[in-house]
C-alpha cells in the first residue's frame, strides 16, 4: 500500500491499523491493516467466519475491538465516548443483511427520524429530503406504507435511503442481498451501483462475485481473520496469488 506516503489531502477516509478483535478467547480479527480512500469502492470477500462482517461492524462501533487504531475522517473511534460516536456515526452509514427497518414507523418516518433527532432537521425539510431520497431509490409512492407491506428488495432500498438521509461519507454494506429472493437481488444491487457511480465511498461485504468484479476499485480477500490478498478486481479474480484465494474462487 502506498497511500500514506502520498500528500496529506489523500489522507484515507477510513484508516485501520493493527486491528485485533476477540470474542472471549476466540480471536476473529488478527491484526487488520486497511485504508479506504474517498470515493473508493471496496468489496470484502471471503468465507463465512473469516471476519468480514465483524471488520465492517468495527468501523461504526457496533463491535468493540481490543487492539489497534481505527480512524474515520482523521477521528479515532472511541467506543466509550457517546459524543465521539455520535459524530462518527453521522459520517458512517450502514445497511444490514436483514434490512432492520423500524416496523412501527412508515417508510417515510423511517427515513425522516434520524435526521430530525440527530441533526435537528425541521420536519418539513426532513420530509422533503425523505421524498427525494425515496424517489432516488425508486420508491417515492411508498412513503406512507408500512415496511411489512414491502417486498424484501423494496425494504432494502428504503434502508439505503434511510442511511443516505444522514449524508454519510461512507456507506458500509453488510451482505445486503443475502436475505433476498434471487429475483429481488438485482434491484438492490442497481441502487448500490448507482451510488458507486455517483462517487459514494462504499465498503461492501458481499457474496455476489460478479457484482464485486463490476463495481469495485479494490477487492479484499479475508481469510482466518486477516487480509489475505488485496488488489484490483481483475487482478484478484483472474490471477489469484495465494492458494487460499484460488481455492475460494474455484469453490464458487
Amino acid at each position: 500500500m502506498t497511500m500514506h506516503t502520498k500528500t496529506p489531502n489523500t489522507i484515507p477516509l477510513v484508516d485501520i491499523r493493527g486491528l485485533r478483535k476477540r470474542f472471549g478467547t476466540n480471536e476473529v480479527l488478527k491484526g487488520i491493516d486497511l485504508q479506504i480512500q474517498r470515493r473508493e469502492v471496496v468489496c470484502i470477500i471471503g468465507r463465512s467466519g473469516s471476519g468480514k462482517s465483524t471488520l465492517l461492524r468495527c468501523i461504526n462501533g457496533l463491535e468493540e475491538f481490543q487492539e489497534g487504531v481505527l480512524t474515520v475522517h482523521g477521528q479515532a473511534l472511541k467506543i466509550n465516548d457517546p459524543h465521539a460516536m455520535r459524530e462518527l456515526r453521522q459520517n458512517v452509514g450502514m445497511i444490514f443483511q436483514s434490512f432492520n427497518l423500524f416496523p412501527h414507523l412508515t417508510v417515510g418516518q423511517n427515513v425522516m427520524l434520524a435526521p430530525m433527532l440527530v441533526r435537528a432537521l425541521p420536519k418539513l425539510e426532513a420530509r422533503r429530503r425523505a421524498e427525494q431520497l425515496l424517489a432516488r431509490v425508486g420508491l417515492a409512492e411508498k412513503f406512507d406504507n408500512r415496511p411489512d407491506q414491502l417486498s424484501g428488495g423494496q425494504q432494502q432500498r428504503v434502508a439505503i435511503a434511510r442511511a443516505l438521509a444522514m449524508d454519510p461519507e461512507i456507506l458500509l454494506c453488510d451482505e445486503v442481498t443475502s436475505a433476498l429472493d434471487p429475483e429481488l437481488v438485482g434491484e438492490v444491487l442497481q441502487v448500490v451501483e448507482d451510488l458507486a457511480e455517483q462517487g459514494m465511498t462504499l465498503m461492501l461485504v458481499t457474496h455476489e462475485m460478479n457484482f464485486a468484479r463490476k463495481v469495485s476499485d479494490r477487492v479484499v480477500f479475508m481469510h482466518q481473520g486477516k487480509v489475505h490478498e488485496m488488489g484490483p478486481p481483475d487482478e484478484l479474480f483472474n490471477h489469484p496469488k495465494t492458494p487460499e484465494l484460488q481455492q475460494f474462487l474455484s469453490a464458487l
Binding site: 452509514g93 432492520n100 423500524f102 416496523p103 433527532l117 442511511a163
Partner: protein, 216 residues
Amino acid sequence: MVDFSFWDIARNLLLALRWTVALSLIAFIGGGMVGLVLLIARLSKLPGVAHGVALYVQIFQGTPLLMQLFLTYFGLSMLGVDTSALFAASVCLTLYASAYLTEIWRGCVLSIPRGQWEAAASLAMNFREQLRYIVLPQATRIAIAPTVGFLIQIIKGTALASVIGFIEITKAGQMIANATYEPFLVYGCVGLLYFTLCFPLSVWSRHLERKLSVRH
C-alpha cells in the same frame, strides 16, 4: 344484637371495594413508574446496576407477598416512620409490582431484535433516542397483554393487605362475617366482587394478546 340485611352487607362491601381499587391503582401506577426506572437503569449498562436490579427482582419474586407486607409494615415503624396501614400497603405493593413489572418489561425489550438497536445506533441515535423512539414503542405493544395480566395479580394481591389491618374488601368481609355469622354468604360476595373486577381484565388481556400477536 343488630340484624344485618343483605343490603347492609353489600353496601359495606362495596364501600370497602373502593379501597381495593384504590390500593390496586396505587400499586399499579407506582409500581409501573418504579419499574420503568429500574428497567431503564438495567438497560443502560451502568456498571453494577444490572446486578442490583436483578437482585431486587429476585428478592421480591423469592419471598411471599405476605412476608413483604409484614416486613414493610413493621420495618417502617421500626425506622420511626409513623405508618398507616394504607401507607405501608401502598409502599409494599408498589415495590412488589415494580419488581415484577420491570422483569416482564425487560423480557419484552429483549424480544426486540438486536438489529433494531443496531440500525438506530448506526443512524447516530444515542441510547435515549434508541430506547424512546425505536425500542420502547415496539416493546410496549408486546407488553400490554402481560401487563394487564399482572394487574389482575395485583388486585388479588391487595387481599393480603388485610393482615396488616388495612380495610379493603377482604378485611371488610372478615369483619362483617364475624358480626353476621354468615361467613359463607359474606365471603361469597367478596369473591364475586373480586371476580367482577378481574374477569373483564382477564378477557381484555386475552383479547389484546390475540389482537397484537396477529399483526406480526
